[in-house]
Symmetry: C2
Subunit: 333 residues, 2 copies
């Protein structure tokens, strides 16, 4: 298939996931809860995790449509993490719209997240499969992994000695594992062998890792109009991103001191200085080569991800997984 | 069996649940998260939902020990609701100890709750059963129900026209359904018939409803030393309890106006007046007979619950469910 055909198929896949996501919300639930869930699930997003489920199913010889409910389950679980993470990060916007706790309040956002977990399991159970226990095991492990990843991320925000290795461990749990879970779930629904499932899981892991570092990178390199949130948001929040940790590892003297101060800079107290700090930190990122380094690490992880696809029978689905991986790494938002 | 023997068996059951609950927490997870989960699961509690699972399994001819992991799953899910509810209610203490968000912070409490949901599913999956899909369906429905019940409870706190019927609908979801789920899960593990499962579910529903109204009642009638939290807490928080709604339904004139003011009374602004308001509201509860009315409704629901047990083969387990129901309704904390 050509890139154009991949593109058209991915668009169809995203539309299908978008259209079906809202249908899971239970009728008759309290208004704010129902509206909050619909708001989140209708908020768009790349649907890359959902697509990963469908394509992994097909890559092992199954039919993508048989994995649709599983794909919806993974997308819903991912959206749960966004709603609760946004509460914890006190984030005002996501995908160009107010976050749930901003549009409603923290209590409703908390419950919307909880309900999304329930809906994820409910959708998973709609999958026709001979091994429901296996599917639930995988989704449960994915849930525990992302929570642990987020806990590490929180822990890092209170520490000043986080290493790049610790960062890799954190994003492995916070992002890598759910990508891996998505791919392994697709393999399970499609009846793939243990070897195929392991290859797809490893593919997902590496892809997720690359995806997260790309996210860190976009925080400073993205075009503001396409990004859906403010540029430099990670810098303002004092996030321990790949860029920041690598820059701290490399910088010495007054540059290092500047980065340290930026990490503890309080946005709320000095709003007028925000732009200056973002520009200053970004400049150091460039000077210490960490932006190039991030691109190298993203490329490396994408290569490692793709290497795993060689263990699968070649076909349209593996071709599309390859295309999707490259698309994700070259995205601008 | 005599009451003494029931008592000893219930104590053994609680100890078993207590001892096994902590084992579910995953090793290697971030420290605050692990400690938070252990803190919650080691916090005691009546373990009535867990016992309900074990006894319902036995009541349909299964072995209580085969339902142990299912009982642990239900207890864990229940503890998740407590952690998140305490955040939403801004509650400082639970069972005589600081709540998770007080002892750590809101972010950690949020994640501890999320992880407990994952652990509940993980424990459920350890159950040996021919119908894992059914078990997961039941727990998922239980999760969605309690979230919807809590959302209604939140919604009520912003409304001044909540009726007693709406209150019953709310506690049905918030408490009744999880009791029903516990009993039905036990029946499923024990291989009970559809008729037995339905009878046990109905038993749980009514018991849960009686249990919740008893909780409302204990807020004003309990002995402070045994209660583990402050007496009159519901009054201070302006909760729409059975007592308050029934009193508002019956009172007219200045008594009604007093109750309305108490509902909007701000604890934080007038701490010195707390005791006076609690005494004033409690006095009106007595004068309008709503404390007696609560006892009547509790008795009625307990009777309805027990009526369902007549559809099961009589035996030690049904005897013990009967004993446990009466114990719960005569409890002092």
């Amino acid at each position: 298939m050509s890139g154009d055909r991949f593109d058209r198929r991915f668009t169809r896949m995203r539309r299908l996931l978008d259209a079906k996501l809202g249908t899971a919300v239970r009728a008759g639930a309290p208004k704010d809860l129902t509206e909050g869930c619909r708001y989140v699930l209708a908020g768009g997003g790349k649907r890359v995790r959902g697509a990963l489920v469908l394509l992994s199913c097909e890559a092992v010889g199954g039919r993508a449509r048989d994995a649709l409910n599983t794909g919806l389950a993974v997308e819903t679980l991912h959206n749960f993490t966004l709603v609760h993470d946004d509460i914890m990060d006190n984030a005002p916007a996501r995908r160009g719209r107010p976050t749930v706790h901003t549009r409603w309040d923290v209590n409703n956002a908390l419950l919307v997240g909880d309900v999304l977990v329930g809906l994820a399991f409910a959708m998973l159970l709609k999958t026709r499969t001979a091994q429901p226990r296996r599917l639930v095991e995988l989704l449960t492990r994915g849930l525990l992994d992302v929570c642990e990843g987020q806990a590490l991320d929180l822990e890092f925000s209170h520490r000043s000695d986080v290493t790049v290795d610790e960062y890799f461990h954190m994003i492995e749990k916070k992002t890598g594992r759910l990508f891996g879970t998505a791919a392994e779930l697709g393999a399970a629904v499609g009846g793939g062998s243990a070897r195929e499932a392991a290859a797809l899981r490893a593919f997902g892991h590496h892809l997720g890792r690359a995806f997260q570092i790309q996210d860190d990178l976009l925080d400073v390199t993205a075009d503001r109009r396409r990004f859906g949130k403010a540029i430099g948001g990670d810098i303002m929040e004092g996030k321990r991103t790949f860029l920041m940790l690598k820059a701290l590892e490399r910088a010495r003297g007054k540059d290092r001191a500047y980065l340290r101060r930026a990490l503890h800079f309080s946005t709320a107290r000095h709003p007028a200085r925000n732009a200056g700090v973002i520009a200053g930190v970004t400049d150091l990122y460039r000077r210490y080569g960490v932006i190039d380094e991030a691109r190298t690490v993203i490329g490396l992880n994408t290569t490692l991800a793709l290497k795993n696809l060689e263990q699968l029978r070649p076909g349209p689905a593996t071709g599309m997984l390859r295309w999707l991986s490259e698309l994700m790494m070259n995205r601008e938002s």
